[in-house]
Each structure stands twice: as C-alpha cells, then as structure tokens.
Symmetry: C2
C-alpha cells in the first residue's frame, strides 16, 4: 500500500516538478478544480500589466500592428494546435466554446445537406446540446441524444453530424476518439469533438485521426484565465467549404478594405467573427508558455498516476463514496468523480478544509488533477481529507448544505 | 477668429478638465483615435492586477460567487444602459459587436416572419452588413442596401428589419434616430441600432425613442480596452419573444442545473451565450467608472465645440482637404473626417508628428474627438499639424506611403 512517504518520493523524481514552480499557488490549499478554472501561471500578471499599461496605454491604436494584436487568434491558435495535434493554420483562439460549437456544428451540418440527424449523447456538456438544439430546430433537423456507450452503434448513414465531448464533465469518462471518428467517416458523417477537458491535459491527435472539426476551452487545463477565449479547429480539407454562420468582418478576406460585399477569408481565418478579445488572448498566450518544451506523454503519465492513486486511496478508505470514473486508463480524462447522495455538502466541507473540488448535479463530487501543478502528496492529502470528512460526519453540519447561486 | 490663447481659456473653464486627469495620456501625443480604441483610464491597471493576481490567482473558482463574475455581463450592461438611455435589465455586455448584431438582427427578423426584406444603408459598418448578408442568405430574405439619405423613404410595410449604425464610421454623419425609429414603427418594421460611435460620446435615448434592439462597442468611447466585450440591448417588451440564435448555457434559465433541455432565461439573460470574458469585462467595468456622475449633455457640448473648432480651422487654413462631416450639430457624431485623394500618407505624416488619427479607405482622414480627455488646445495643435503637413508637402515623402497590413 502506498504511503505519504511514497508520494513524497514520487514528487522528488517528478519530471514536472519544476513546472509547478511556474504557478502561483496559495499556501495550504489543494486546488482540484483546475478542470474548471486553471491556476494562474506566475508570469501572467506582468504580461497583463504590459498589454494594459504599455500596449493599450502608450502604443494604443498602433498596437494592432506593432504588437500584432490582429494576429493573436492565429498565433494563440497555433500554440493550442501544437497541444492537440493540429496542423498550423487549423485553429484559432476566439469567442467562447459555445459560440465556436455553434460555428462548427452549423457548418458541419451544411456539409451533409441530404442528411437530417445530428447525434450526441447524454454525457455531453449541456451548452453543446443547447447549441445543437438551436441549430436543429432552425434547420428542421432531428437532434438524437443517446447514452454515451451507444454512440458508436448509433452512427449510420442517416447521421449528418456527430458532436460529442471527449471527456464527460461529470464522470471523467473518456470517449474513444479514434473509434468514433473512424465510424463517422465510415458512415459518411462529420464529427465535431469538444476538447474542453482534453486540451492541455493529455495528448490529442486531431490531424492524425482525421477529425473534421473540434472546439475547446481556454480556461481549464490551458490555464488561460477566467472566461479565456476558446478555440475552434477546422480540418484543412474542410476550410474551403467551411461556412461560418456568423459572417463578421474578421472572417472577411480583406477586413480593412471595408467592402460591403462579404468575401470569406481563406483558411482558418474564416472562422473568425469580430474584433479579437485582446486582453483575454494575451493572458491565454502567456499561460501557454508553461507548455513550451513539455512532453504531453509525460503529462498524461503523471495525470494517470495521480488519478489512479486517488481512486485507490478513496476506494481503500471510504465505503460511502462510489467512484464514477473508469479505472481503465484509456477510458478516463484527468479527473476523478465520486458519487454520493450528499455530494454537495461533502464538497463544501472539503472546501472548508482547503481541498477545493466542485459539485456537479445531482450527486457528483468532482476532483480535477491538473498534472502541471499538483503533487502526489496533494493527492494523498486530498484523499485523507475525503476520509476524514466522511468519517467525522462534519459534512452534515447545516452550514455546508447552503447552495450558493453558482457552484 | 479663434486663437490658441482662446483655446487655452476654453480649457481653463472646461467642466470636463478634471476628467482628463483620470486618463493615462503619454506626453506630446495628440490622440484623435479614441473612436477606434479609447485611451486607458489610469485606474484600470490596478483593477486588472487585482482580478488577475487576487481573484484568479488566489480566490480562483470561488470568484464566480465571491466576486460575482457570473453577473458581470448584467452589471456592466446596466452601467452602459445608463449612458444610452436604457432601462436596467435591458443590456448585457458580452461577446463582440458582430456577434451581438447577429443575435439581434436574427431575432428581429423572426419577429416579422411574414416580411422578406432587411434594410440597411451603404454607410453602415461592413461587419453589420456582412452579418445581415449571412442572415438574409440563410433565411431566404432580401438584403436591401440604400444610400444613407434614402433610409427613411425606403421604410415601408415590406420591411422586416431596419438595421443601421447611428454614426457613419467614415464621415461621422449621424442618422436621425428618432425619425427612423418612428418610421419603422409606423411601417411595422423592427429597428436595430448600432451604437458603436455613439455610446459614451453623446446621450442616446433608447427607451424614450422606443428602440427595439441595439448593439454597440466597448472599446471606443467607452474606453474598455482592446477587444473589450460589446453590448446588446433588447427592449423589455421584446424580451419574451426574443429568440437568441445561439443557444448557450449562460442563456439558459438555470445554467447550473445542467439539464439537457434548453429553457431560455427570462429577461436580458436570454441574450447571453457562453462563459463571460471576465478579464475584458473587468477592464470595461473599471473604465466605466470615469462616467460616474458625468452629464452627457456636457460631454456632447464639448464634443460639438471641438469638432466645430477643428472644421473651422481646417476650412480656414487648408483648401486641399474637404470636410466630409456635416456641419449641422444634430447631424454629426464626435469625429471629423477630411477627404483627400492621398489621405493615407497624410495620416501617416500626421502620426509622425504625434497627431494620431486614422485612415479609412478610400480617401478619408479620420479624427475622433473624445471629449473626456481632449483639450481645445489639442484641437488647435492638430489643425496646425494638418496645415503644416499639407503646406510642407511632407506627406509626399515615400516613407509615408507604405501601407501596413492593418490601419
């Protein structure tokens, strides 16, 4: 059985130990919510100061050229591309995941005008499902929602688009991207992957797997800051046919010609819409520095070791909580979810002990293991906290049952 | 004839003089591009430091509740609402102007399903026209583009939506919002106003005029920073029927219930889509502090005095440039545009003299007069610079003819 001393030993030889030093980590808190809002890389504040005080404050309008603000979506997009196996020129960072899902899924269904079904599963993040519902209703298509385990068998030649999230935000269960992508192409369907809980957590191989479209989030494992710009991937082979439903000036071939005729840009620029959110993009760009030179296989190995350890400890110590996350390494993301009827007050009691996870309705206590800044001892201490909160029954104190408006 | 001493005297009694001190203004530069990117209010960097280092860095995920990040679009929206005559609860700050135009115009045309024409004019900013083109093509509607002076007569009962920008980004010419709005309602059409060059520059009376929808920009006269979140206004009477074409989780009645069924939020929250861009919203929120307690009639009076003065001086001194901006106060915004075949190198030569305006194709030299931080002596000195650049012929030096990729 592993001991805390074993964990300390693992941290000593952790090839990512020095990466942890690049993050601002308040003393005493074990932050297991990097899958919701990634921690702050230490160098980001100075980069933000520069963009605000020097670029906005002094260079002002000239910064669009001098500091290449205009290109930010592409430069940041290519850096994300390097983390998800996308070719340069196939990703931009822009807007929100929801808006990018709207662009990608609407464009995808237009590539299969003779088909009437958009397919997703019940584990998909709700915003993706809402976006699909809006597209399906507007276009007179059927939105078919199946159980996650039934996605593969539900793919047939009636399906225009399959849009799913790789890692289930609730359970941490991971879809087989290779198999689903291959099945889509076999059936002539277009696949749109949401990488919200994938990008930055483990290697993704968009180009190698022949994925059609993808979207993802900048503020989770990419640590881009609250409400960071999201990203959208359009496979190069689809870029000519890609029809962005929101035709804004930055998606124009020549925005600064100010022509009244819309001529879509070539390449991934076609996925752009309005003026880039410079402040958010600069924070995300700076945050991505942390990944420079990093081997995502090493990141993944540490993530699996940590989630394995947490599941082992909790399963060994606590009978009251069920592990909702698959034990097979290839079937999980970088989080562990525990089920309990009273998951909400349990999470609150853990937060009171400075072990910060989150609650997802109806019964999920969710713990994200961001491999870049967590240690094995954090995993140990978090599991101890779970055991003590359960054994003591302290989660039953009324104060922990108060639900804030947003969790 | 006015003298520079007169200008100094005007600045001495300027009721907005102390507002200028709230901005970071690099020495020696006359910044006449606040209509493109507003100057930096001095207190913004510290607010950004706090949101990055303390809220993101320390409070992290808890900030959604503790610092009310979730509400930011509403809180900032209501502050903008106070500047454009909108009721509380009728504006959110979110996304980009282009995306908000997409939401507003698509929702507007759905309110008139029996009509087939969307009307705009050639002075509209291209992104609005592109968005309309996309909506019209997708919905099988006609996009009718008339000359700005013909908008009123073009409004009849065939028109579903009239979408126009109040102030022409090129000439600074201002539409009659009251007349066009009234004509739309007389004809049973829905009106969508773009307030990009209005909000923060002069009073707007959205509610009093009965405007249906409006959108606008956060980074011009509102000084919200590069790529600041934009805003969208939905008149309270339309909020129940308002159908946001992009159905994301923050537009849901209960986003954190994570239901798979989309139930639109009540009120203006229905115009939201994805996770709010917190960093950009905090910068914009901070920037709006400058307007606290300000009388926009005073702002407008100073703006008219400055634009009048600039036109008087240039017309008196320089024959080679034609004033493209209307002289009637009610017909112009807060900018002056000068036409010249070689406007591009002229603007570049002025920038070399630290008089920063911008060029708009094909022949417009554009000078924005942001009343909050410009002085009458700046207007004088800028006009002198225009005269000297023309008289010296220095704009003909080859180096000024080099067009950067973006101006």
């Amino acid at each position: 059985m592993t001991t805390r001393t074993d964990c300390e030993a693992l941290d000593t030889v952790d090839p990512l130990a020095e990466i942890r030093d690049r993050f601002a980590l308040p003393d005493g808190e074990i932050y297991l919510d990097g899958n919701s809002l990634g921690a702050l890389p230490k160098h980001v504040p100075e980069r933000m100061r520069k963009v605000v005080e020097e670029q906005w404050g002094v260079d002002r309008i000239r910064s669009w050229n001098v500091h290449r603000w205009t290109d930010l979506p592409h430069r940041v997009g290519d850096r994300i591309g390097a983390l998800v196996g996308a070719q340069p020129g196939s990703i931009i960072a822009a807007d929100t995941t929801s808006i990018n899902a709207f662009k990608a899924i609407d464009a995808a269904r237009r590539l299969r005008p003779d088909r009437r079904v958009i397919l997703t599963d019940t584990s998909n993040f709700p915003t993706d499902v809402y976006v699909m519902r809006g597209i399906a209703d507007a276009a007179g298509l059927e939105l078919r929602i199946v159980e996650p385990d039934s996605v593969l068998e539900a793919i047939d030649d009636s399906i225009a688009v399959v849009a799913v999230t790789e890692v289930d935000y609730r359970t941490g269960s991971r879809h087989d991207m290779a198999a689903i992508t291959a099945a889509c192409h076999e059936a002539g369907a277009i696949v749109v992957w949401d990488l919200a809980h994938s990008a930055g957590a483990f290697p993704v191989a968009l180009a190698d797997l022949g994925v059609d479209f993808a979207v993802g989030c900048g503020y989770k494992y990419l640590n881009g800051g609250p409400g960071a710009p999201a990203f959208i991937y359009v496979a190069p082979r689809h870029q000519i046919a890609f029809r962005n439903p929101i035709t804004g000036w930055f998606g124009h071939a020549a925005p600064f010609d100010f022509s009244l005729e819309f001529v879509p840009a070539e390449g991934i620029a076609r996925a752009r819409v309005g003026t880039p959110h410079v402040l958010g993009l600069v924070a995300l760009d700076a945050a991505l520095d942390v990944f420079d030179g990093l081997d995502l296989d090493v990141v993944r190995a540490k993530s699996l070791a940590m989630t394995d350890l947490f599941m082992d400890l909790v399963e060994g110590w606590v009978d009251e909580l069920d592990v909702a996350t698959p034990r097979e390494p290839e079937r999980r993301g970088s989080q562990v979810s525990l089920r309990h009827e009273h998951a909400f007050p349990i999470v609150q009691a853990l937060i009171a002990r400075d072990v910060v996870g989150d609650f997802r309705t109806p019964d999920i206590a969710r713990f994200g293991f961001a491999p870049l800044y967590l240690r094995h001892v954090d995993v140990w201490d978090a599991a101890v906290a779970v055991r003590e909160v359960i054994d003591s029954g302290e989660w039953q104190e009324p104060k922990y049952a108060v639900r804030p408006r947003v969790t």
